[in-house]
């Protein structure tokens, strides 16, 4: 987990030169942002077929590499177990993620309010971001015990950094001339912040939110693997211990699906928030 959230620069482009204009049709952001997922789905289908072929050709035992069909059967057989796992894990992820977004954005806003605080604390945060956060999982377990609270907190700890970093960068992305204009129009600090700086930061804030969701999923699962008594990570852990490899695979597949659904919820939210804007490329 050494990936950092510092991936995004301002996506803003200068206005393109144009002659007398015709109202240009909005390129479909929906297709661009969401529709491309369909191709990804096709890729997954190909991968599954390949997997089936490999299992058939190499004739692996089920305990090493079960076929997709065996995994599907395991999913069907253990549906209620997996579903209760989904509920536990999803709850941990959503709580940890929501806390990360709220607290992370608050910290970023506080940092942006004071140049001094930003200079003092931002480098520390970037440094902390490079700490492999999974490594502090044992500490969280010591402090909060075994169970969903620990897993949600792990999610929070891992997910909060990309939020802080991206929102802080986003809030810096607003050009001084826009703030000058806002001041000239009589804008006070609050109005400049909410009507100019925050909208400017929005693409960056959403990029951080997406990263937070991806990272956060990992956090909850790590917690469950280490100290879980329920949840999909726990299912994959104990089934592997019992050499029920199809169930381990089943848990991983369901977990991936859960991660995908949660991620796409954020992508859809992003689509609705940014849809009236210029596409970034």
């Amino acid at each position: 987990m050494s990936a950092s959230g510092v991936l995004r620069t301002s996506p803003r482009q200068l206005g393109r030169p144009a002659d007398e204009p015709k109202p240009e049709r909005l390129p479909s952001l929906w297709r661009e942002r969401v529709g491309t997922g369909l191709w990804g789905l096709a890729g997954i289908v190909v991968l599954v077929l390949l997997w089936q072929v490999i299992v058939m050709v190499t004739n692996q035992p089920q305990t090493t590499l079960p076929s997709p069909i065996a995994v599907a059967q395991s999913i069907a057989k253990n549906a209620s177990l997996l579903w209760s796992g989904v509920l536990v894990t999803a709850r941990e992820i959503v709580i940890g993620f929501a806390l990360a977004v709220v607290i992370g954005n608050l910290i970023a806003v506080l940092l942006s309010l004071s140049r001094f605080a930003e200079r003092l604390l931002y480098p520390t945060l970037v440094l902390l971001n490079t700490v492999p956060k999974v490594a502090i999982a044992p500490l969280i377990i010591i402090w909060f015990g075994f169970g969903p609270t620990t897993n949600a907190i792990l999610t929070l700890v891992i997910a909060i950094f990309p939020v802080i970093v991206n929102t802080t960068l986003g809030l810096q992305s607003c050009g001084d001339d826009y703030l000058r204009l806002g001041k000239a129009m009589g804008g006070n600090g609050l109005r400049l912040f909410f009507k100019i700086r925050v909208p400017f930061a929005m693409p960056s804030i959403l990029a951080g939110t997406k990263l937070a969701m991806t990272f956060g999923t990992t956090g909850a699962v790590v917690g469950e693997l280490l100290a879980g008594q329920a949840g999909l990570g726990y299912v994959s852990q104990f089934s592997a211990g019992q050499l029920d490899t199809p169930l381990t695979f089943a848990a991983i597949v369901v977990l991936s699906a859960l991660g995908l659904v949660l991620f796409y919820l954020v992508v859809i939210a992003e689509y609705f928030i940014l849809r009236s804007r210029q596409p970034t490329h």
Binding site: L26, Y178, A184, N188
Partner: protein, 267 residues
């Protein structure tokens, strides 16, 4: 344009200097500027780059403070941003996420006024005046540079300021659009009787638009010449050989040439 002596001038600049401290030392951007602008007057600040014309406008706008001297607006000393004025900068500074109409209305929102029917009607009226009413719901990236700058002008006028401050507003536009916008601006200024301070480095633009052209020379920025253009709006065409404005263009150009010569001699 005449102002009765009883009225305080729209803008009064008294002995204003502005120093900038840089790593290389101190630069005197403006030195001892004295200028009075009457209500309803259109004044162009003309000069080569670095002459302090934009600095002077920024001071009038109250976005910067003079190192010495004083600026008053309609008799009131200037402290802090001059929110009673309207601004147009070289960049249109439209907000990408807002429609043209909404970009105009931000003027009210920044003042803490929630735009109601009257404000929206006023904004639409202005958009229609500059001929972009059909773009009211379009976003900036769907508009050309000229359209965008027209919207920026509407934003500067929507709260009906007495004073309009423009910092090379057409500098980033192509020649044809620029000329057309100059005609439109001349008409707007004449019809609305606004006091306008207009910064430019184009001699034609300055002479075409202004009642009075102030030529500034650089380092330190001082007033080098003042050219009064007594021609009425309808007697003016775009300046060119043999047109009524031609003599004033020559006068302004001579002043600009003199500045360049001085600089070369110094160097």
């Amino acid at each position: 344009m005449t102002a009765t002596t009883l009225d305080p001038p729209a803008v009064s600049i008294q002995n204003v200097s502005r120093l900038f401290r840089t790593r290389q030392g101190t630069t005197q951007a403006l030195k001892g500027i004295n200028l009075e602008i009457a209500d309803g007057e259109f004044v162009a600040l003309l000069g080569p780059s670095g002459c302090g014309k934009s600095t002077l406008l920024t001071l009038i706008a109250g976005l910067d403070t003079p190192s010495s001297g004083e600026i008053s607006m309609y008799g009131t000393k200037q402290v802090g941003p001059n929110t009673a004025a309207g601004f147009v900068f070289q960049k249109d500074l439209l907000l990408d996420w807002r429609s043209a109409l909404s970009n105009v209305l931000i003027q009210f929102e920044m003042r803490g006024i929630r735009p109601g029917k009257a404000e929206v009607a006023r904004a639409r009226e202005l958009l229609a005046m500059v001929g972009v009413e059909q773009f009211a719901d379009a976003h900036p990236f769907q508009m050309s540079g000229g359209m965008r700058q027209r919207v920026a002008i509407c934003r500067a006028l929507v709260h009906d300021p007495r004073l309009l401050l423009m910092d090379e507003p057409f500098g980033a536009l192509d020649a044809i659009t620029r000329e057309r916008l100059n005609f439109e601006l001349a008409e707007i200024a004449a019809r609305s009787k606004k006091t306008v301070v207009f910064v430019t480095h184009s001699v034609e633009e300055a002479v075409f638009l202004a009642d009075r052209v102030i030529v500034l020379s650089p380092r330190p920025g001082v007033i080098h010449a003042e050219i009064v253009i007594p021609l009425a709006r309808d007697q003016r065409g775009w300046p060119g050989e043999g047109t009524p404005l031609d003599p004033y263009v020559r006068q302004a150009r001579q002043a600009m040439d003199a500045i360049h010569l001085e600089r070369e001699n110094v160097a």
